[in-house]
Symmetry: C2
Subunit: 99 residues, 2 copies
């Protein structure tokens, strides 16, 4: 449906969420506390951001003891994954630009 598209774009519009996605996009699992530390975000802030990413269908989380391990959602439709790929790719290539 079209609603998911809007959710995804809203999700990736926030820089912190994009940064989290970039970390998760390797396919590995990462807990909230790790993301908090690496992205310099408060606990409640990071938790909420992850919820939004999950609701958009971009990531999935599972309980593992006291942690929640988030990872890229492998069931994401290919056309939508392509959007994320393009965004992360572009952001990465723009990182080292001078002008």
């Amino acid at each position: 449906m079209k609603r998911r598209m809007q959710e995804i774009l809203t999700a990736i519009c926030d820089p912190t969420r994009r940064a989290a996605l970039a970390i998760l996009w390797d396919g590995g699992e990462h807990c909230v506390c790790e993301l908090m530390a690496r992205l310099d975000a408060s606990q409640s802030r990071m938790s909420r951001h992850m919820k939004i990413l999950a609701q958009a269908g971009l990531v999935t989380g599972r309980r593992d003891a006291q942690w929640v391990r988030y990872k890229r959602n492998i069931e994401l439709a290919p056309e939508l994954a392509a959007v994320i790929d393009a965004v992360l790719m572009a952001e990465h290539s723009l990182e080292k630009e001078i002008a």
Copy 2:
């Protein structure tokens, strides 16, 4: 720079702007009044949306008599154009989905 990336994502986050982009993405020129009519948007609303798209570097406008003709910016960096392509592509393919 990274700022442009954020501008672009903010720009395509709005449904009306995405719809305008979809129309302009064929490369042709379209005036504001045409976009207003096709997207059922008020004049000031459409004008502002176009300004945001232009500031993000996605489109360019030129005066032609009393009209302003907007079109896709052909000088847009390829990695950024790829993002727009992916988004429009995905939205198009999701259009006819049942589930």
